[in-house]
């Protein structure tokens, strides 16, 4: 956490920000260049050079008509269902995780009863439950979304509970003295003060959701999705397509994480400023 803040510090100065971005992209560019050169020298069919991968990605997904935002039918048929399932799964995890987390965090008794159970559920590696989900839910989207939710909900739920438990005592005393309604307590005190913890959980949940999104599409019953595309390519030994899927997932993860960080920055602007003042 503190490392992340320190890393963002230069962002407050224009020049520092620019050189920071430059440094990061230079490292990436050098890595990609090495990759290109290495794969061209090796000439292994298992390791196509990045230029081949990128052109494959373009032809597969982004060479569509302008009316479809340049997306091919391959893209709309596989990328969108994947993203849709992930969005639904993540949204459900947030709603249920934050709701249950607040309940758990604000009730000593609930916490005492349920925390051990949740701690146990959390450490079960989600892929091991996939066979159970296959039996429990309808094959396809329903089972896939269930797998995403079951993995993504825990970091949000447990972080929210933790944050809700540690709301400032004096803020709660103030709420009692002024007899704030329970909705005001929830939305004006508990939820805002839990927000940093919720976002910390959300960051973990996001990467878990991405993993489970792909993993659930590798299982039987999948008919579309990025994972389905990749397992299909693998069965045809179509390595450039397989690699295109890997790179796409990397880019997707990066973009989603960047979006989340932006949302977090906006939501926690007041928190961070308050902390900065406190510590100086």
């Amino acid at each position: 956490m503190s490392a992340a803040v320190a890393g963002r510090r230069p962002g407050r100065y224009g020049v520092g920000l620019l050189t920071g971005i430059l440094h990061r992209w230079i490292v990436l560019a050098v890595a990609v260049a090495c990759w290109e050169v290495g794969t061209r020298i090796a000439r292994s069919p298992s390791f196509p050079p990045p230029s081949t991968i990128v052109s494959k990605m373009y032809h597969l997904w982004f060479a569509g008509p302008a009316s479809h935002l340049f997306l091919t039918s391959e893209a709309t048929g596989n990328l969108l269902p994947s993203l849709g399932r992930m969005a639904v799964g993540l949204a459900a995890s947030i709603v249920a995780g934050v709701g249950l987390g607040l309940l758990l965090g604000r009730s000593e008794r609930m916490f005492a009863y349920l925390d051990p159970l949740f701690q146990f559920a959390r450490v079960i590696p989600p892929p091991t439950l996939a066979p159970v989900f296959i039996v429990l839910f309808k094959l396809g989207s329903q089972m896939q979304i269930a797998s995403i939710i079951f993995s993504a909900i825990w970091p949000i739920l447990l972080n929210t509970a933790d944050g809700a438990r540690s709301v400032d005592q004096l803020q709660m005393a103030t709420a009692r003295v002024f007899r704030l309604s329970s909705t005001d307590r929830l939305f004006k005190i508990i939820l805002p003060s839990t927000m940093p913890k919720i976002f910390a959980g959300l960051r973990l949940s996001l990467s878990l959701a991405l993993i489970l999104m792909v993993f659930s599409e590798l299982l039987p019953g999948a008919t579309d999705g990025i994972g389905f595309l990749m397992s299909d390519a693998q069965s045809r030994s179509d390595l450039p397509t397989l690699w295109a899927g890997i790179v796409l997932l990397g880019i997707l993860g990066y973009l989603l994480n960047t979006l989340l960080l932006m949302a977090e920055r906006r939501a926690l602007a007041g928190h961070r400023a308050a902390r900065r003042v406190d510590t100086t």
Binding site: L170, A173, V177, F178, R179, G270
Partner: protein
């Protein structure tokens, strides 16, 4: 209005209050002084219903306090932590008014009025963490005043403000009490306790109990300069000072 009988409170291994007896009439302004750690904040928290005393009972208008009573406001000693950093100053002041069934514009107007009274109208749209400690303290005073409680508890409310503002705030307290508000004001400033109070309660250190209950014989119209010159003021100040330092001769307790 307020009766405290045989009040005692123990923390794990420490007796904070013991056998405190006190009665406060409606509309009175009672100053409570005592060395730090003598249990002043504990006493206020018991009255506010925030902690349940280990012994004795407190009744407000004839009803025993078991939970936070209605129509009560507290200015906490730790003022900065009692403000919500994600709300603007005005929203902090207006938030408690939501239960009073007033429209949003009325609440905002009342909040602005209270901020004006403490000299912070300009800071209404700022966030608490953008203000100095003294200004934050005034915001928490404004929040309590806007609430218009029947009973106002203030825990060292002027500790972080500069001398001039402090005098202004003391006079503000004297003004609002004219509306019939009953006020308990904890302070460690002896002059202040005499200047604003109808009565001064001196608490003993460990275990905290009432060492003296002195009526202030000053005219109710007070003025920062002339009141402090009155022989009665000078006399009271000396007497309270002696009591706080524990130098009072035996039998001096009234």
């Amino acid at each position: 209005m307020l009766q405290i009988e045989k009040l005692g409170h123990y923390y794990a291994d420490h007796t904070a209050l013991e056998d405190v007896n006190l009665e406060v009439a409606e509309g009175e302004l009672v100053s409570i002084v005592g060395p730090s750690g003598c249990g002043k904040s504990t006493l206020l928290r018991c009255i506010a219903g925030l902690i349940r005393p280990s012994q004795g009972r407190i009744t407000l208008n004839g009803r025993e306090i078991t939970d936070v009573p209605d129509n009560l406001a507290v200015v906490f000693q730790d003022y900065s932590r009692s403000l919500l950093p994600w709300l603007t100053v005005r929203d902090n002041v207006a938030l408690p008014l939501r239960r009073r069934g007033r429209s949003k514009s009325e609440r905002q107007a009342a909040a602005l009025g209270a901020l004006q009274a403490v000299g912070l109208a300009d800071a209404a749209h700022k966030y608490p963490w953008q203000l100095s400690g003294g200004m934050q303290q005034r915001v928490s005073i404004a929040r309590a005043l806007a609430y218009q409680p029947a009973l106002l508890l203030m825990d060292e409310p002027f500790g972080s403000v500069d001398a001039q503002t402090r005098e202004d705030l003391e006079d503000l307290v004297l003004r609002v009490r004219k509306d019939g508000m009953t006020i308990l004001l904890v302070t460690h400033d002896i002059d202040e306790s005499v200047y604003v109070g109808d009565r001064v309660i001196v608490l003993d250190r460990a275990p905290g109990r009432v060492a003296a209950d002195l009526a202030v014989g000053l005219p109710s119209a007070r003025d920062q300069i002339s009141t402090r010159e009155l022989p009665e003021f000078v006399h009271m100040r000396a007497e309270v000072g002696r009591l706080v330092r524990g130098q009072a001769p035996p039998g001096a307790v009234l």
